[in-house]
């Protein structure tokens, strides 16, 4: 008798299991990879550094007021129907009518006000520095929000925040404590977006389409995949294998061999020819300007002429990246580059010229070892570093040290652990190191804020690692930040002044554009973005912060293969 009960119970459990169990139908699922570096732990849009691991939190689940399209350099009204500067210290946003949260409640101006005021209430919210210049954010009725400013705002930062700050529902967040808001996991997130949280595991995130999403009606957009499964592969080889087998559809990993595979037609990329990838950020060689001889502009200039960037592109990246503008600006911001200045002051690889500059500045090879000594006769020894395991950068700094040696400058490459590298970087104990922490954005201020971050502190955590101290350029960066977005000429003029200082003094050397790594196979889904053959023009990217810069629109363009 008892045996029978066990059988019944077992069948029951199994039945329930099958009912709850989930396997995603391949035809309705988009498999992606390349965003996460660790297991998913939170869906809190206010914890910014972990968002790579749940990259859909902002853009898919929660949404900002605007999206931004870097390819056209335009803001796309999203939750907002439009935004306008009523005066130069009053910005008005009109929300769309009919916005809803995923729990069915309406999204109104009160939610927007609540979200921005969190930054005023809690200094640990990442956008709280906005309140230095923000006087108030108030709603006028359900659909209008007015941002008024104490003084001229940092327009560039403000606009950047408009498409990065995710609006959260007041009715859910207002009862939470400061700790829950600033560092809570926010499991089971309720946003306003086109996808809902569905499941997660240590190596994956699963999102499911929100069939009630407001945008289906108001924007006429509907993303094609019902499920999105984002996978974190332990190594890039695994990602490459899975991509070629069609187990994943879109990979945003850096895969060195892609140029060959793209040429043979195994994978698709955004550009049909080298460098195959769009550019995502500028890799800059920071020089420690507090150390001899790097405190000498002539020496820095010689170094810039000595580095063989083409060899870096070939050897480290197999042709997947493009040489950077000496002004460090990404191609989509090229309109802010002063071309005349670049023609006059820009540097290129020219070892002979490097040697000539060194000779004029008094750097001579005294002991006959083929390497120059400083004008005071002391030996030169410089280390160029990057974190161990970043294989492309490791190869790149090997090229840097080799080409510097060839020009007679004693530079050696070293690969410390990430922690040690990071400490040396922010405390300023390194000699020369690579960094690319300015993300793709709507404004040249982002990269110049990285290069000329100020004031100089004991710990330089977010830029100007070489501690280049020049009040003139600091003032210019502040001026750039406060230049209104409608004044393109003004932005260009300030940029030109900054570029002149950058190119004359060379406190750091912009080298190449790191790519927006994206490769796709079209076994299950077709019509991925591309600059050819009638493909849609969007950034095919699923990294954190990129869903609202083209990633989401990529989903809307996809078509089933059959």
């Amino acid at each position: 008798m008892r045996g029978k009960w066990w059988v019944v119970l077992g069948l029951l459990v199994l039945g329930v299991g099958v009912a709850l169990g989930q396997e995603f139908p391949r035809q309705e699922t988009l498999y992606i990879s390349g965003a996460a570096w660790g297991p998913p732990t939170d869906w809190n849009p206010f914890i910014t550094w972990s968002k790579a691991n749940t990259s859909g939190t902002v853009g898919l689940i929660y949404e900002p007021l605007f999206f931004y399209d870097p390819l056209k350099d335009t803001l796309i009204p999203w939750l907002a129907e439009y935004g306008q500067w009523k005066t130069d210290q009053l910005f008005e946003v009109k929300l769309r009518e009919g916005l809803t949260w995923q729990d069915g409640k309406p999204l109104t101006a009160a939610d927007v006000v609540f979200t921005f005021e969190l930054g005023k209430k809690y200094s640990t919210i990442y956008y709280s520095p906005m309140w230095d210049y923000l006087a108030s954010v108030v709603n006028v009725g359900d659909y209008y929000v007015e941002f008024s400013f104490k003084r001229k705002p940092l327009y560039q930062e403000f606009v950047n925040n408009l498409y990065n700050i995710a609006i959260v529902p007041k009715h859910i967040w207002e009862t939470r404590t400061e700790e829950e808001i600033t560092s809570g996991a926010n499991a089971n997130p309720i946003g306003s977006g086109s996808y809902k949280y569905f499941a997660h595991g240590p190596d994956r995130n699963v999102y499911i389409r929100n069939e009630e999403w407001w945008g289906i009606k108001l924007l006429g957009l509907k993303p094609a995949p019902k499920y999105i499964v984002e996978i974190r592969f332990a190594t890039n080889n695994l990602a490459l294998g899975a991509l070629l087998k069609g187990e994943i559809d879109l990979s945003n990993n850096f895969l060195p061999g892609i140029a060959t595979l793209a040429k043979l037609g195994y994978v698709k990329t955004y550009l049909p020819e080298p460098p195959y990838m769009l550019s995502a950020n500028t890799a800059v060689l920071f020089l420690n300007t507090t150390k001899k001889p790097l405190n000498d502009p002539a020496f820095r200039k010689a170094l810039a002429y000595a580095i063989n960037v083409d060899a870096i592109i070939e050897r480290a990246f197999a042709g997947l990246v493009a040489k950077a503008s000496p002004t460090a600006l990404l191609p989509h911001l090229a309109k802010y580059v002063d071309d005349e200045l670049v023609a006059q002051l820009g540097f290129t690889y020219d070892p002979a010229k490097a040697k000539a500059i060194l000779a004029v500045a008094g750097y001579k090879d005294i002991d006959g070892d083929g390497l120059v000594e400083a004008p005071d006769g002391s030996k030169i020894y410089l280390e160029v570093t990057c974190p161990f395991g970043w294989t492309d950068w490791m190869e790149a700094i090997r090229v840097i040290s080799e080409s510097a040696q060839a020009a007679g400058i004693n530079v050696v490459h070293r690969y410390p652990d990430y922690g040690a590298w990071n400490t040396a970087l922010v405390t300023g104990t390194f000699d020369m190191t690579l960094n690319n922490w300015a993300s793709l954005s709507n404004t040249p201020w982002t990269v110049y804020n990285l290069l000329f971050n100020h004031p100089i502190r004991d710990v330089m955590g977010s830029g100007n690692f070489g501690r280049y101290n020049n009040p003139e350029v600091f003032a210019l960066v502040d001026e750039l930040a406060a230049t209104p977005p409608w004044d393109a000429e003004g932005v260009k003029a300030v940029c030109a002044k900054i570029q002149e200082i950058l190119l004359t003094d060379l406190p750091m050397i912009p080298l190449w554009y790191n790519g927006l790594w994206a490769q796709y196979v079209e076994f299950t889904w077709t019509n991925f973005p591309g600059a050819y053959g009638g493909r849609p023009h969007w950034l095919p990217c699923t990294w954190a912060g990129y869903w609202q810069m083209g990633g989401f629109h990529t989903l809307c363009e996809l078509k089933p293969a059959q």
Binding site: G21, R26, G38, D42, G419, T423
Partner: protein, 329 residues
């Protein structure tokens, strides 16, 4: 017997205390600062970084002198609080580990137990059988000398990439979410197989060789020759020899458990199997003091517990230990 156990327990407690202390100290010798590393992942304005650094140093309890951090650590451990992971912020370490432990135990326990039993049986069987001794045992030497990682890579390459019979990464398929169904259980087993086999094979080789050598040694012993001269059946003799030979194998197991745990770490990494070992490697790479401490705490507890079990097993298996400790000899 009680004295024997009391002695062992004292040693274990002392070992536990020292090992945990060392594992608390070592990560703090690493260059770098976990909070800085974490913050550098969020591109922020300098003002925001300053505020957040202070906030998180306090939140992680890293703003007090080192000796006080150490005392706080023990206080928290006895309250069952292992802190919050930096790398997996804001998840408590104890929950991170709880999710990983089943995977580690699932490959480790069966691999240890089965390889020990099978290895001993096979070694005893192979001893003094010329054709086996000449063919299979060299393979045993080869297996036991193979680093865990190398065998793992070979298996992944052969059965995963080459033949395509098994997956090469993960705890379960990307197309599934965990739930109770035959399909999912089979999927779990399918992913479990290669990591398990690679641990099993290396250990199997070691035990087989150990047993084979012990049996040969025992078969030369006086009591065996005496039994032989009495005309006892060969089967009986081998059984006696086996029981004697198994004792050093038990001691060997106790000695090996630490090495086996280390083997599990690399095996999990090779197969990106979501257990404690893989977690530990990631914690070290991300300088997550609290997660490193937590992982080691569980590894230490696991190794000590396993040793304790072996000690107790020894008491049961070898009557001499029991008698010896109550002073009858």
């Amino acid at each position: 017997m009680q004295r024997y156990l009391a002695q062992k327990l004292t040693i274990y407690i002392l070992t536990f205390f020292l090992a945990v202390t060392i594992d608390w100290i070592i990560p703090r010798f690493m260059p770098g600062n976990p909070v800085q590393t974490m913050l550098s992942r969020a591109a922020l304005r300098a003002e925001a970084v300053e505020v957040m650094r202070g906030y998180y140093l306090r939140a992680f309890g890293l703003d007090v002198p080192v000796w006080q951090q150490y005392l706080n650590f023990w206080k928290a451990v006895f309250h069952g609080d292992l802190g919050v992971s930096v790398y997996l912020f804001p998840k408590p370490v104890i929950r991170v580990i709880a999710e990983a432990i089943p995977y580690t135990l699932a490959i480790l326990v069966p691999a240890i137990v089965l390889s020990w039993i099978a290895g001993n049986k096979f070694g005893a069987f192979a001893a003094r059988r010329r054709w086996l001794d000449n063919t299979v045992l060299p393979l045993g030497y080869f297996l036991t000398a193979t680093p865990y990682m190398w065998l793992g890579i070979l298996l992944a390459w052969g059965f995963g990439v080459g033949l395509g019979w098994f997956p090469i990464a993960g705890g379960y398929s990307f197309a599934m979410t965990p739930h109770l169904s035959w399909k999912f259980v089979l999927d779990l087993l399918w992913h479990w197989f290669l990591p398990f086999v690679s641990l099993f094979l290396v250990m199997f080789g070691g035990w087989a060789i150990g047993m084979r050598n012990m049996i040969i040694y025992e078969l030369e012993a006086d009591y065996v020759q005496y039994l032989e001269s009495l005309g006892a059946p060969r089967k009986l003799i081998r059984r006696y020899a086996f029981r004697n030979a198994v004792l050093p194998q038990i001691t060997g197991l106790a000695l090996q458990i630490g090495t086996i745990a280390a083997g599990a770490v690399v095996t999990e990494t090779v197969f990106s199997y979501p257990g404690i070992g893989k977690l530990l490697v990631e914690a070290i790479q991300n300088q997550d003091y609290f997660l490193i401490q937590g992982c080691f705490l569980f590894i230490i507890i696991g190794v000590l517990l396993a040793n304790l079990i072996v000690d107790i097993a020894y008491l049961i298996v070898d009557p001499r230990t029991r008698r010896g400790m109550v002073g009858e000899i």
